[in-house]
Assembly symmetry: C2
Homo-oligomer: 269 residues x 2
């Protein structure tokens, strides 16, 4: 019997070159319009920190800045524990290639404790992912083929019609199915096509500049999601002369708010 690595695990597979130094290889299956899917770069950074021998706790926050496209081939990730506190740890990370820095990041890892807890926002009411009313559209770029995407609102526009809403809501899981972990959740936080496509009813030049994700569960709670679909919903608040923001929620089917995520996106129109 042979086991084959999931394409996502191949894409974020890292070789150790020293403490906090890792080398990965871009995977063409996760290619975006230019360079790889930003979510897979975020995932590789989380994976690099997870593998650092000094790491304590689990992801609480991640900010990834996309400086330049990662080009096909190998990339180096350097991660550094900037400060270790009693219950949390601050990290900085950089991704570099021969041509220079492509990505900077900061992350907070932490230990969760018993404390009063509450989810204040409510999960959108939508049909379940198995409902035949859903549509799964093939994505326009390679990385999208690694996800089962069942749009319940705001699918990728297929005809030139403007929309007054930038909201997209979809059930999504990795294809083939793979148990949800922090690396996968980090990638899912960037699973939305650019909101400006939806508003304008067409594709145009756009790319994430900075992505921030807050994690609301620990590894045990995350593992409970198994390989099931999660519900991902995103909208923009303002499109302002070349930059728009996006704010997103990722829910488990059991109504657990797994992560909230925000990004600022460059666009040209």
């Amino acid at each position: 019997m042979t086991t084959t690595l999931h394409s996502f695990d191949t894409a974020i597979d890292l070789a150790n070159n020293g403490i906090g130094q890792y080398t990965g290889q871009t995977n063409p299956e996760y290619a975006n319009m230019v360079g790889p899917f930003g979510g897979v770069t975020a995932a590789a950074i989380i994976r690099a920190i997870e593998r650092h021998p000094d790491r304590i706790g689990e992801p609480v926050a991640l900010t990834v800045n996309y400086l330049a496209p990662v080009t096909d081939g190998s990339f180096d990730i350097t991660v550094r524990a900037a400060r270790t506190n009693r219950t949390n740890q601050h990290w900085t990370a950089e991704v570099a290639q021969d041509h220079g820095l492509t990505t900077t990041a900061t992350a907070v890892f932490g230990v969760r404790r018993d404390a009063w807890s509450d989810t204040e926002v409510t999960m959108p009411t939508v049909p379940d992912p198995e409902s035949p009313t859903h549509t799964t559209l093939p994505g326009p770029v390679p990385w999208m083929r690694n996800y089962d995407m069942h749009y319940v609102d705001g699918a990728v526009p297929t005809e030139p019609a403007e929309s007054s809403s930038s909201t997209t809501t979809l059930w999504v899981r990795q294809r083939p199915a793979r148990a949800l972990d922090f690396a996968a959740l980090s990638a899912l936080s960037d699973v939305f096509y650019p909101r400006v496509f939806l508003r304008r009813g067409r594709m145009l030049p756009a790319g994430t500049i900075s992505l921030t994700t807050y994690f609301h569960v620990d590894g045990t709670e995350l593992a409970r999601q198994g390989t099931d679909y999660v519900l991902a919903s995103a909208h923009a608040q303002r499109f302002a002369r070349g930059y728009f923001d996006q704010t997103a929620q990722i829910w488990g089917r059991d109504a657990t708010l797994l992560a909230t995520s925000h990004q600022i996106v460059y666009y040209k129109d």
Copy 2:
């Protein structure tokens, strides 16, 4: 005639020690429970980047990570242009004191261009800041005295009563009045007391770990706000075993969405 520097400008006043190296002094007027108000540290970082000779454009995004309290006295800010693209520039920043790193940050500066634009979210409908129905409560910590805060919803709890909503909305401006700039707007993005106080109806240990702000205006649009009040509104999405998130909007009185901001906060309950 003598002119006195506004206390905010004193708090973020920086001496140059070399290219990209600055030294500031904490100002007791901006003290928080432990260390200075996080907003003033964010503002000092924006100011440091603004003063760098290589800087192009204006703030688009800022993420500030609070590693450890800044102690009273001098602090060093180091900023570095990690990458300069055609229309944007990526920065990294660190704040250090004798005892080590206190703060890391990343920022994106950019140039805005003519492009299709739209504000999709709507400003909360509230009475104007001059309305006599508003209450201005003295803040429990020194930095709050530097702001006129007129709460229209979710004021600092004065009696032990839990709330089912974490939403706070207030009109706020600097005291004494000072024209709004990016440094001041960066500070305002952290002007909210911890959401968990409102939900629990009491103060408890809490502190911002990481703050991300997206700026939606250029300097000319920002200057139009003058010294007027802005409307700031924030709520939490989830409180999860020691960490909660906060998402916020800052509006000009003329319904311009100036900034959206997000943070993850440690709490103990």
